[in-house]
Amino acid sequence: MSQHQAELAAEGRTQHPEQPEQPVQAVSPADGAVDRRRRRVGKRRRDEHQMVPDAVFTSYYGRPIVKASPWEADIPAYLFLGGVAAGSSLLGAGAGLTGRPVLRRAGRISALGAISVSFAALVHDLGRPSRFVNMLRVAKPTSPMSVGTWILTAYGPLAGAAGAAELLTPLASRLPSAARPPIRLLGRLAGPAGLGAAVVAPAVASYTAVLLTNTSTPTWSAARKHLPFVFVGSAAAASGGLGMMLAPVSEAGPARRLALGGALLELGVERSMEASMGITAEPLHQGTGGVLMRASKTLTALGAIGSLFGGRNRLAAALSGACLMAGSACTRFGVFEAGQASARDPKYTVVPQRQRIERGESAGA
């Protein structure tokens, strides 16, 4: 039996026994009796699921209207690591220009590691991983995933070269002489490559927001104005945090500032974002998504405070960095889970659209 059916069957069993067709009781809003009846519907829903507030809407047996993405943990992990890589490239490049060798090295290697893992996650999530290359058949501005593929195609090699150089140069002396010329060449390319990666990096960090918001998933779609800023903030905080963990306090100043700025941006924009989303913000406060978002806020705040006051203490800096990293991860997983949850409950599809119609702002109007 297919998973699709399993879910439906499960829903069926959770329905109120004597009211199989109950969720569709409400009728046209034009109808006078409606208000009373709708309220009743809402109340009964509450009897069923304690968590659901007294929202007034009609649905087909409480089944989802839009489909949740088939994506699993790979995707939020990819979002997180992509952000880490982007920020790290920026730190690496900046450190290179400002003579911070350890930070530079940390940034470039982190970028390489993060982007490699995130790329692996991306491929792993495909229904047919062997067909990943089909992504390169077309370049479609209407498809954030296509755009993202090309951004990564540009960013990957640059970040890769820079990172590889940092890894290989120290080993050069121990390698056979034949291997040295290419490494030396790589070393010379590392600077420009790192700068190039840094130029593309911001796109890597921000396009992933559009990847989510350009869907019919209510919570993602409603966040479309703010999510890019939340994501770049999150990326800055995470990569800054990573810098603080890896670089000595003497070099980590820019990382701290980047982390602090990113954390403040993320926390600030999140607030206005949730305020602007109406009912579709609920999943950011409830269930798995809610837990993760609360964790993300706490961790990010802790990390920010830590880096502000304890940034010059190696241990405190490292701990703060870890908090920021974890906070950023929680943000991505939280936004992801909240979106999935919003797709599974028809309320988040129907209510906002109904309100739009009642406000006379429907797409058709």
Binding site: G12, R13, Q15, H16, P17, E18, Q19, P20, E21
Partner: protein
């Protein structure tokens, strides 16, 4: 239908429904079970017709109807009787039509006594045999002889035929009622499903066309239905007077010269112990309203599934020969003349008088040159009935080891027949069982995974039945015809070769016959002559498949001698009694007219009239609407322009119109035959019912129906409700089988009826096919209705603690089954006698076994065996039961569980099996009846 109009087939065709101004669908779930035909109901609705659905459940048909009226299962006669009463007491009948075309004016004998005066039975009832002496029911003057020649021959006919004669047989056969029951029911079957009306000795009837004579059918009808008031309908059916009157108004407002109403029924009506009388009820209404034989009118009998009509035309029934010729009986019909005298009177009107030609042609098609005038055309080769060989009687004979072998062809009795347990236990008594089906159905696997294996009643190692499974070819894998619901034969061409070992029935039987004949080739035994002399020479193709085309030609028949020798018959009217023609089924004669397979015609609708006469071929004579002479007034003019269909063309002196006239084409409306002219010639120009022995539509059936000349409301054999109308609770002539393995739930006035307080009804879903043999092995169908469920109202769910998608156990005296629960407002409680009354819906597609994709308990296991006396049809549309939450016990515990119910209900073999409800038992509610009506009853009984 046969008894009312002369033929048993649907009187019109599906496309004609589009012309209806009102369509009443009752006892049918047309949208679900005939979705393709239902498009014409939708077409009528689009043209502004009113669609009314009357059914115990709100079905997909109700969803599309303008009006839905829920009624109690098994109460339809009360509802129909109420409409008849409304029509008569409000003068809403189509007087001109009624006087001219029905037997309303005909006078009855003065010794006929109606049910109101006999406490629920008609005159002539014998409580011993549970049968009627129908002699008092007939027309005035039938007992007088007629022309000398006639009277002579009828005398012998009367001898053999009069119910008196039948009961003489009983005595002879040691008081075993079966014999005579068969001799009657075989005729009943012939009329009811058949190609001809009941026999009258002659057509000289006394009429009072003012309809005022107290013994006129019209007045008798009026008195009989006077008690069927809206209040009584409410009490019996649970239908509010408002709902009821809305229906009455709808059908009467939409009938008459300008408008017509159609009635649609299906197995929701036939699967009752009074099924035939349900149909009679609608026949009376349609005759009174003048809707018969007219466009958008008629009675649309929807058959159970593909070619069921065909399987009675060329019957799979034990008591019929092709074309509704009755099966001869040992003793009564030892030679051809006595047989012919029994089935028709030479002095009666109509085409049935030609039965001799039809019989002889059939015998010629069976035995060819071996059938000669000298040897009665080998009539003695025909097997003769020795008793009841109906399917249920056969099953009981199996249990007594009277039957060695059994062929199941596209039949799954372990799931599809009433009392599945009895079916399975009986098959375990067989020496051999042949199952031919598309899939390994439960009837082929009961010996290893049937319910009785689980309960321990059967042990596989103890079952000696040898089961042979033959995979069958589907209709797309063989040539042949379907005869569908509107009597139309449609040829289907072989599209693909059957896979593997799958073979067609034709292939199977042809070669079975061939092999038997080879084995007997050298036999000198007389008893083997019928087999060896059979015409068994069908051409076969490379794969050894016999030609279905050749079979159709044989059925159509051909000239054997004369200059036309070898040519196919154009029509049954060419059949001769002298052996110069052959024909396998007289009503199909013409399907191969001019050597063309008429059933294979596929002329697109847009290229011909809406009647589409060149699409397939309908019996008789490609007439699409039967009795269409009645579409014109007595003078032969259309009743109205709007409803013009067939009319008399004065210039050309012939009948013409949109359809083939169902009438002698050149017989003028004014024609009046000479007194007592027999046969077709005896039909007057205004006798539209040409298969009837008096040429009229029968409001009152003086012959041919065994359980009463008029429909009477009786409760189902099992009902928690006391019959409020008469002392008599259920049909007094129903066939009962009082046996330890066929126990019945008690019904009032019997004690403990409250142990089974609910009614349940069974039905089919669009997604499945009958017992599931064609659907539960198909994933695309099985996923659409994957599990056996019961449908209950929220009120009953609350009363019994049933929860949606939870489990319920349903119990009767036979067994208990479990089903998932669907709580739905489509099932509504009814107010019966002021009390809330619950019904339960059970689709019957699932069975217990290991082979199908989806399985489950079988609803038919709940039923016992009680049959309609006319056509031996079991009551599987209604019975009483109990329902409780949770799953049923399994294994031996199930038997104890049911036994406990039997004990609580005090069930014995007699329970529910006493045909005549005794006076003593309880005090019957006598709503609407005055003591005056009842006293004579008592006095007569006691």
């Amino acid at each position: 239908m046969g008894a009312s109009f002369g033929r048993g087939g649907a009187t019109s065709f599906l496309q004609d429904l589009q012309n209806s101004d009102c369509i009443v669908i009752q006892g049918s779930n047309m949208a679900e079970c005939h979705p393709v035909g239902f498009q014409w109901v939708m077409e009528a609705k689009a043209r502004g017709a009113r669609i009314i659905h009357i059914d115990p459940r709100f079905t997909r048909t109700s969803a599309l109807a303008d009006h839905y009226v829920p009624l109690r299962a098994g109460s339809d006669i009360a509802f129909l009787g109420g409409i008849i009463n409304y029509i008569l007491s409000n003068e809403k009948y189509f007087r001109e039509y009624v006087v001219a075309y029905t037997n309303a004016a005909t006078l009855l004998r003065d010794d006929f006594v109606d049910v109101d005066d006999l406490d629920g039975v008609f005159s002539g009832y014998d409580p011993e045999t549970g049968m009627y002496d129908t002699s008092t029911w007939t027309y005035e003057g039938q007992d007088e002889g007629h022309s000398s020649a006639g009277s002579q021959r009828t005398a012998s006919g009367a001898e053999a035929d009069s119910p008196g004669g039948s009961r003489a047989d009983d005595a002879g056969s040691g008081g075993n009622g079966q014999e005579s029951e068969v001799s009657q029911s075989e005729r009943g079957g012939g009329h009811e499903m058949g190609g001809h009306g009941a026999k009258l000795k002659h057509a000289e009837v006394h009429r009072d066309e003012t309809l005022q004579h107290p013994r006129s059918v019209f007045q008798v009808l009026k008195r009989h239905y006077a008690r069927y008031t809206p209040e009584l309908v409410e009490q019996v059916c649970g239908v509010s007077p408002e709902d009821f009157l809305k229906v009455c108004e709808a059908v009467t407002e939409n009938s008459g010269r300008e408008r017509t109403t159609a009635w649609v029924y299906s197995v929701g009506w036939t699967h009752h112990t009074v099924g035939v009388q349900y149909i009679r009820g609608s026949a009376i209404i349609q005759l009174l309203l003048g809707n018969m034989g007219r466009p958008g009118g008629g009675i649309m009998a929807l058959r159970g599934h593909a070619s069921i009509q065909g399987s009675t035309d060329i019957p799979t029934l034990f008591n019929l020969l092709p074309g509704y010729l009755p099966m001869p009986k040992v003793g009564e019909h030892d030679d051809l003349p006595s047989y012919l005298d029994t089935i028709r009177s030479p002095d009666q009107k109509g085409f049935w008088a030609e039965a001799e030609s039809y019989t002889v042609s059939l015998l010629k098609s069976y035995w060819g040159d071996a059938a000669t005038p000298e040897n009665d055309f080998a009539f003695h080769y025909l097997p003769k009935l020795t008793g009841d060989h109906g399917t249920y009687q056969t099953v009981m004979d199996m249990l007594e080891d009277k039957v060695e072998g059994y062929f199941l062809l596209g039949q799954n009795p372990a799931v599809g027949s009433a009392h599945g347990r009895m079916q399975r236990l009986a098959m375990a008594h067989l020496k051999w069982l042949v199952v031919r089906d598309l899939n390994l159905i439960e009837s082929a696997t009961f010996w290893k995974d049937g319910p009785e294996i689980e309960t321990g009643e059967l042990r596989t190692e103890d079952i000696d039945t040898e089961v042979f499974f033959f995979p069958a070819a589907s209709h797309a894998e063989k040539d042949g015809t379907f005869t569908q619901t509107q009597r139309m034969l449609q040829w289907h061409h072989k599209a693909v070769a059957p896979p593997g070992d799958c073979r067609s029935e034709l292939h199977f039987f042809f070669h079975l016959g061939r092999k038997i004949r080879e084995r007997l080739a050298n036999s000198t035994e007389q008893r083997d002559r019928p087999i060896l002399d059979l015409t068994w020479d069908y051409p076969v193709d490379a794969e050894g498949d016999p030609s279905a085309d050749a079979v159709l030609r044989e059925i159509n028949g051909s000239h054997l001698t004369g200059e036309k020798a070898g040519q196919p018959l154009k029509l049954f009217t060419e059949m001769k009694p002298d052996g110069s023609t052959s024909g396998g089924c007289w009503i199909y004669s013409g399907v191969y007219a001019d050597g063309v397979n008429q059933s294979a015609r596929r002329k697109p609708g847009k290229e011909q009239s809406w009647v589409a006469p060149e699409w397939g071929w309908a019996w008789p004579a490609n007439r699409r609407t039967l009795y269409n002479r009645a579409a014109a007034d007595p003078e032969g003019n259309p009743w109205s322009e709007r409803k013009a269909y067939v009319w008399w063309d004065a210039e050309q002196q012939k009948w013409t119109g949109h359809d083939v006239p169902d009438f002698p084409a050149d017989k003028a409306p004014s024609y009046r035959p000479e007194q007592g002219t027999p046969g077709a010639a005896g039909l007057a120009g205004d006798d539209p019912f040409i298969m009837q022995s008096d040429g009229k539509g029968w409001l009152y059936a003086p012959e041919g129906i065994l359980d009463g000349p008029l429909p009477v409301h009786y409760e189902p054999a099992e009902s928690p409700v006391r019959n409020p109308m008469y002392r008599q609770q259920a049909n007094p002539t129903r066939q009962v089988y009082p046996r330890p393995d066929n126990l019945q739930n008690p019904s009032p006035p019997e004690a403990h009826a409250e142990v089974f307080p609910y009614l349940f009804t069974t039905y089919r879903l669009t997604e499945h096919h009958t017992a599931g043999g064609m659907s539960r092995w198909v994933p695309y169908l099985s996923e659409l209705q994957p599990e056996f469920f019961c449908e209950v109202s929220p009120q009953l769910a609350r009363e019994r603690g049933l929860t949606n998608l939870g489990w319920a156990t349903i119990v009767t005296a036979r067994t208990a089954i479990e089903a998932r629960v669907l709580v739905t407002e489509r099932v509504v409680p009814l107010l019966i006698d002021g009390k809330e009354f619950h019904q339960i819906g059970l689709p019957y597609h699932w069975g217990v076994g290991g082979s199908a994709l989806v399985t489950g308990d079988s609803a038919n296991d709940l039923f016992g065996v009680t049959l309609d006396p006319n056509v031996h049809i079991q009551e599987t549309k209604v019975a009483s039961c109990d329902i409780r939450a949770g799953r049923r016990p399994t294994g031996p515990a199930l038997l104890r569980f049911v036994e406990d119910y039997r004990r609580r209900a005090g069930i014995t073999i007699e329970t529910g099996n006493t045909r005549r409800t005794p006076v003593a038992s309880g005090t019957p509610s006598r709503a609407g009846s005055t003591p005056a009506e009842l006293t004579p009853a008592e006095s007569q009984e006691d």
